[in-house]
């Protein structure tokens, strides 16, 4: 089968110019990924050794930090991966190769950090180096490319996510990565981390919930009164273009005044800074995608189905709930997915005005020039957004089945 694929790509290559013809028989994405990974692995430091958390580090290559056998196995596995990336098109093989590669790179990091850390030393920091990140990204892209091409069913995708999270959780619980600099930062901040992570999720979900409650009726209204549709969407569009930091600033004034004028509001935790302006800003940003998708989704419902529903004696409420909204649900959910992923990212900025969330570590880290602390905030945020995207994409696809 691979021969056939190679033959096909060779045919396609035959019509191309000289440099492209030279690459025939090779997977183009594979060439880019393998080249980047090889350059990163050979030329860039695999880890950075720092005598404490804020000094600039001392770069180390794989051969310097790993025992000979481990370094050699690393080379062998990654060379095989490069070969697969270059020559084999089958998505399954590529996925397996990428996952094995990721496992080996992560293990190598754990082994290197454990080996470099002096026994009992809590001050020394061993951070992943540029080479590690390049490998991680190249292998990650190879894996996602393979997964996309496999067209997995929604259930399988969610299951894969759960397995991935479970494996990651197991690795952290067993302390495999305890000597990696980011986990060192985590160990110091463990209690705050779980508090801020929960707060992060609540801020994102809370603003989303409020936005859904408000935006759904507005979307329905836009659909029913087409004349006002462009006015409403235009207004929301303007809100969308205000930069988040500016919006926080703008909100400080009215919310501060509200808190000062009404003691009850202040008792409820509303003030010019903190969670209140963060939630309000996220809420405002969330409106446009949900309103626009609700209106579009309702517009796409077959007019014949609505006409038939009326003709059969369904009330307008019954038609709205059990015909129009149900049929528009996949499109509405797509809007909610956009908002959720967007909010998980934006909540990070809320830390600037005392809103809390994982952004606290990011801004603290920037203040202290402690990159590891920045990553402690950034990596879980990316993970959360990624998981939310996978879950909601799967939900949209399930909803979209059997209704064309």
């Amino acid at each position: 089968m691979h021969d056939e694929v190679l033959a096909l790509s060779a045919q396609a290559g035959g019509k191309l110019s000289a440099p492209a013809a030279y690459l025939r028989g090779f997977d183009r994405l594979g060439v880019v990924l393998a080249a980047c990974a090889a350059a990163g692995f050979i030329c860039l430091p695999f880890v950075v050794f720092k005598s404490n958390r804020i000094v600039p580090g001392d770069p180390r290559g794989v051969l310097e930090v790993l025992p000979m056998w481990a370094a050699l196995s690393c080379y062998v596995v990654l060379s095989c991966d490069a070969a697969v990336a270059l020559r084999i098109r089958g998505a399954r093989v590529r996925l397996v190769a990428a996952l094995i590669g990721l496992g080996v790179v992560l293990l190598a990091l754990a082994v290197a950090c454990n080996a470099l850390t002096p026994q009992g030393n809590k001050v020394v920091r061993i951070a992943p180096g540029a080479g590690f990140w390049v490998l991680l990204i190249a292998l990650g892209l190879m894996a996602t490319d393979a997964i996309t091409r496999m067209h997995l069913r929604p259930r399988t995708r969610v299951l894969s996510l759960v397995v991935f999270l479970a494996v990651a959780g197991l690795a952290f619980c067993h302390g495999w990565f305890d000597n990696v600099s980011i986990m060192r930062e985590y160990a110091v901040n463990a209690e705050r981390f779980s508090r801020e992570a929960q707060r992060h999720i609540w801020l994102a979900l809370g603003s989303l919930t409020a936005a859904v409650i408000v935006a759904l009726p507005i979307g329905i209204f836009c659909h029913r009164v087409p004349r006002l549709r462009s006015v409403i969407l235009g207004t929301l569009n303007v809100i969308q273009t205000v930069p988040s930091i500016a919006l926080f600033g703008i909100l400080m004034v009215p919310l501060g005044a509200l808190a000062a004028a009404m003691p009850l509001a202040a008792d409820l935790g509303i003030s010019g800074i903190g969670a209140a302006p963060a939630v309000v800003a996220l809420f405002l940003y969330s409106l446009l995608p949900i309103v626009a998708n609700t209106a579009t989704g309702l517009q796409r419902v077959s007019p014949a189905a609505v006409e038939a529903a009326r003709g059969m004696g369904m009330t307008s409420w019954q038609i709205l709930i059990s015909v129009e909204l149900i049929l528009a649900l996949p499109v509405i959910l797509t809007g909610i997915r956009i908002v959720l992923v967007q909010n998980i990212g934006l909540v990070t900025i809320a830390a600037l005005i005392g809103g809390g969330g994982l952004g606290v570590f990011v801004f603290q880290g920037i203040g202290q020039t402690a990159t590891d602390l920045v990553l402690l905030g950034a990596i879980p945020t990316v993970g959360l957004a990624f998981s939310a995207a996978v879950l909601l994409d799967a939900l949209v696809e399930v909803m979209d089945r059997g209704r064309r």
């Binding site: 077959s302 014949a304 189905a305 006409e307 038939a308 529903a309 009326r310 003709g311 059969m312 004696g313 369904m314 009330t315 019954q318 015909v323 149900i326 049929l327 059997g402 209704r403 064309r404």
Partner: protein, 318 residues
Amino acid sequence: MITLEQLTKRYGDSTVVDAVSMVIECNSVTVIVGTSGSGKSTLLRMINRLVEPSSGRVLIEGNDTAKEHAHLLRRRIGYAIQGHGLFPHRTVAENIAIVPRLLGWAAPRIQARTDELLEVFQLDPCTYARKFPHQLSGGQQQRVGVARALAAEPAVLLMDEPFGALDPIIRAKAQDDLLDIQRRFGTTIVLVTHDMDEAFRLGDRVAVMSHGRLLQYDRPAALLARPADPLVSRMVGMADRAMRLLSLTTAAEAAVPDSTRSDRTTDDPVVSASASLREVLSELLWRGAQAATVVDAGGAPLGRLSVADILARGRPNG
């Protein structure tokens, strides 16, 4: 009996339906035919109040429909439209069960009715009940649309160009099926179409509309014999009106009992009792024969038809 009294619909300055009065008999098929923009669909939609009349009344069995809640009225009246309007997110069985559910029927009764209707429409319940509309062919979707309209055993069924989206062969089959079903359930059917052939084929009575006015409302043969308006004669077709008239009579109705005839030959073509005289004449022309033997569904001879018998039927007062 449905009585329309001076039914009028105006949108702003334009009058879409202009003071239409007619009486629709029970247990019959009434076809409203007209060009597009003639107001025929609006007239139909005023019967179940999808369009509220500007003036005039609709009486069903003597009761004014305006005195009832519109959605409750519609649950008593079947409604089928072009392009079927099936709910894409519900299965075939769920689609058929919509009105019975709205009326609060018990589950076993709904199940029994759904299965019965699927069988009537030649869709095996085991195979089709759980399918989604997009898994059916166009003809099957249309049949489910009509089955859904009949689900709650309505006395009246309104149909708005129900066969418009079907190809000619499937449409002819659907028209035959509709007549069978009308006979079986005794439903009063009011059907809107722009196709005069369809009107003649289905209608016990045909109402011809143009520009919101009812030009003529009569039996098909009367429309041909005594058109009330030049537009009616144009719409029913001057050129082939004799053929249209022949197509309204079946061979069984016109057959002459065998014993009175002496000109029988053994190589007469055989035609079925349900064939129209137009079809019989065509068959005779094709074979170069002078007479045909009419047989019933079991093959037993009912009588004979000669070319002269048929030609006599092609005249307005024949």
